[in-house]
Each structure stands twice: as C-alpha cells, then as structure tokens.
C-alpha cells in the first residue's frame, strides 16, 4: 500500500521551533541563543527598537540564515531542508514593503503569488479573495503609486495571505493604518489564526493585546518573556506613566526587570 506523504506533514507538534537560535544582522548579533516553540494561533512579538524582532522575522521567513542553533518550520529543518517547498507555505510581510509603482494592486499580488509558486488556476480567485479580505476590492485595479501608505500596507497584508500560508509572518503590519482599519485587521488576524501560525511583530502593545493569544518579548536579541496576554497584563506594577495601559505597564515592567537582572 502506497502512502502519499506530505513533505510538510509536521513531524513535531509545533509550527515554529527554535533552539539556541542566533542570527546576525551585518556584524552585530541581533538574535542571541533564542529558544522558542510556536503553534497554531496568533502570537505577538514585542520589543523596543533594536531588539532583534525584524531579524528574527527574517530568519523565520528564511530570508537570512541563522549562524548558530536550529530552526524548524513545519517540522522541516530550515537549514538543510528543501526551502522551495517550505517557502510556498510561508506568508511574509516585510517591515519595509517595496512595490512596483506601475503595477496595479491586483497585478502586484498576482506577481507575488507567482513568486510563491501558487498553482496557476488558483491565483485569480485567491488574489480577489485576499484583496477583499483587506478591504481593497474596489481599488484592485488602481496602480500602486496611486494608493496611500495605509493601502499599500494592506496590499502587503493581502500578498502575505494570498497563498493561505501555514506560517504567516507580519512585521509592523499596522503601520499607516487608521484606527478603523486596525480593528478590521485584528478581526482578520483572529480569523486567520484559527488554522495558521501567525507571528505579528509590532511596537503597538495594544494590537498584540487585542488580537494575539500570547506574546513573546525580546530585548537586545534575548528572550525576556513568553506567555499569555493575561500574564503580560499581570506583570504590570504601579511604577510608570499613569496614562499607559496595563499592558504597556506590564511590558515596561518586564523589560525593566530583565535589564536589572542582566545588569545592562
């Protein structure tokens, strides 16, 4: 009896597994000996500037290779496995999302769908659906250069979800979105998080609190906190700005404790 095996059938329980992961950005070590296990669901990645969030996301997207440690995505070893098959199942929105100005939104998402080797027949419907889900169905045939910053960002989100990825990596997805769009985006995340491992890297603690199930906090490449949103909120103490929300105060408290421990 022949068994058709899916090369991406998880051999482990987790979608993303990192162990002792170290990644360089230039000569600087941006991520240091990180251990992480993320499953289906929406996970927030928080941290101050320079914490290594973008570098970590790039490593998860297989854009940069880690220089130490192991990284397994959907059970496949990202260092040695067949990256081509793996990349078809990844959706990635970079922090700085470039585009070709003369392409229409639809053409651009189609182009990126081609880059992800989506089956040809599935592309037109998938592109329409992706643009609809981000609220750009009526601007699908406008040229990219005529779109506002927030719309461009939403096209970026559309291209990330167009191939129904197993692993969705979003770096600062809400930059430039107005509050109403941010709320729609959080709904989209909850919808997508049902069967996808989503990692949202952002400065905005409120976004993480509203849409994510748990959070990972990084500081200077090191893991500071890994736990649920409730645990993040519970870490808040009375020190700090009274106008900050409990989540923001929890975030600050965790960072402060970590830095005192490390002696920075």
């Amino acid at each position: 009896m022949t068994v058709l095996s899916d090369p991406l059938a998880p051999t482990s329980a987790f979608a993303i597994e990192a162990d002792g992961l170290s990644v360089r950005a230039g000569r600087h070590v941006a991520v240091e000996r990180l251990g992480l296990a993320l499953d289906t669901g929406v996970h927030g990645l928080l941290g101050p500037n320079g914490a290594g969030k973008t570098t970590l996301i790039k490593a998860l997207a297989t854009v940069v290779r880690p220089h130490a440690g192991t990284l397994r995505l959907s059970g496949v070893d990202a260092d040695r496995g067949d990256l081509r098959a793996l990349r078809r199942e990844i959706g990635y929105l970079p922090q700085r999302f470039g585009f070709y100005p003369r392409y229409t939104a639809r053409e651009f998402v189609e182009y990126l769908a081609w880059l992800k080797e989506m089956p040809r027949d599935a592309v037109p419907a998938a592109v329409d659906r992706a643009l609809d889900r981000v609220g750009l169905a009526d601007r699908a045939d406008s040229r990219m250069k005529t779109l506002s910053g927030g719309m461009v960002r939403r096209v970026g989100i559309a291209q990330a979800i167009v191939n129904d990825p197993r692993i969705l990596l979003l770096d600062e997805p809400t930059a430039g979105l107005d509050p109403e769009q941010r709320v729609s985006f959080r709904e989209l995340l909850r919808e997508v998080g049902g069967d996808t491992c989503v990692v949202v890297s952002t400065h905005l603690v409120e976004d993480v609190a509203a849409a994510c199930e748990d959070a990972v906090l990084l500081d200077r490449g090191q893991l500071v906190f890994r736990g649920s949103i409730d645990e993040l909120e519970a870490a808040a103490d009375d020190v700090g700005d009274a106008t900050a929300s409990t989540f923001e105060r929890g975030y600050s408290a965790l960072l402060r404790d970590h830095r005192e421990r490390v002696g920075a």
Binding site: R96, F97, G98, F99, P101, K145, G149, R153, G156, A175
Partner: protein
C-alpha cells in the same frame, strides 16, 4: 538652518560616489588621449556626457515642501550648486587636450540638458535627456543636413554649434533654479 544641513547630509552621502566617478572620467579621458590614436567622438562627446550624468545624481532630493516655503533662498542655492558642478566638471575634463574646446562646449550644452532632465525626471533618470540627445546626434553623424544642426552640434568639431549649446545651457539653468529637481515616485511603505 536644519533644512540646509539635511540637504548637505543627503548630498554628502552621494557626493563621495559622484566624486569618485568624476575622477574616473578624468582618468579615462587622460588615458584615451595618451594611449589611443584616433579617439573620434569619445573625448569631446562621451566624457562631458558621463560627467553631467554622474553629477545629476548629486543634485536631487531636496524636500519639495521646504522648497515651496522659501523659493528665493532655494533658487540661489541651486544656482550656486550648478556653478560648483560646472566648475568641477570642467576641471575633470582638462585632460582632454586638443579636444578641450569641443568638450567644454558639450559640457555646457549637455549640462543644460541634464538640468532639464533633473526638472522633468528627477536625479536618478536625469541622465537620459542629454544621453538621448547626444546619441541621436552620434547616430546621424557629423556633417549632416543643416536642418539637423540642433541635433548634431555635440559631434561637430569645436567652434561650431556654440549657439545651440549656450541656449540649452541657459534653459537648463533657468528651469533648474526655478523648479528644482523632481522627486522620484514613492516606492515603499
């Protein structure tokens, strides 16, 4: 004053590369004149073209909003920039030897076209305008019909075609000091 410093900072990052490229043009000029017998149109046409194309990259990028607030100050600033560029380019072309008169005429005319290119297309594409003109002239060749003279002046020997070069230089200076370089289309979010 911070706006001026910002502009200097932006320019500073390009100025190094541009200076290197100009130095390369000067060296190439010298090498051609010394080592190659019949350089044809290379030194009088290509050297000034390369010089103005490279300088175009250094002259763009000022914040348009700032420009609109203080038009006078910026116009004078841009005129000064053009003068500096013209001087530096002329110096780079000194090794041209016997072709110097044609080279300087072409520097003026092609420089004017580059300035027009800056206004129309922005610093990254400005070089297309003088290149297109020079190539068209080169394709037709020197000694062509009189009605083509406005096109072929770069490939004529020095001494002729000065009027066209001067006219283009003047037009370029006027347009660039008045309007400044176009900002390229946005392509990132």
């Amino acid at each position: 004053m911070t706006s001026r410093l910002l502009v200097l900072h932006l320019r500073g990052r390009q100025a190094g590369r541009v200076a290197c490229a100009l130095l390369g043009v000067a060296v190439a000029c010298w090498a051609l004149v010394v080592f190659v017998d019949d350089t044809g149109m290379l030194v009088p046409v290509l050297a000034p073209l390369a010089a103005v194309s490279v300088l175009g990259f250094a002259l763009g990028g000022a914040d348009p909003a700032l420009e609109r607030v203080t038009p006078q100050r910026w116009a004078r600033w841009r005129a000064a920039e053009l003068a500096v560029c013209a001087t530096v380019a002329a110096l780079a072309l000194l090794p041209a030897g016997e072709h110097l008169d044609a080279a300087l005429r072409n520097l003026a005319g092609l420089g004017g076209l580059a300035a027009i290119g800056l206004v129309a297309l922005g610093p990254r594409l400005a070089w297309l305008v003088p290149s297109a003109w020079a190539f068209a002239g080169a394709a037709v060749g020197p000694g062509a019909a009189a009605w083509l003279a406005p096109l072929t002046w770069p490939v004529e020997p020095g001494g002729s075609g000065l009027g066209y070069a001067a006219a283009l230089a003047a037009a370029g200076v006027l347009l660039h000091t008045r309007y400044g370089a176009a900002t390229p289309a946005p392509s990132g979010a």
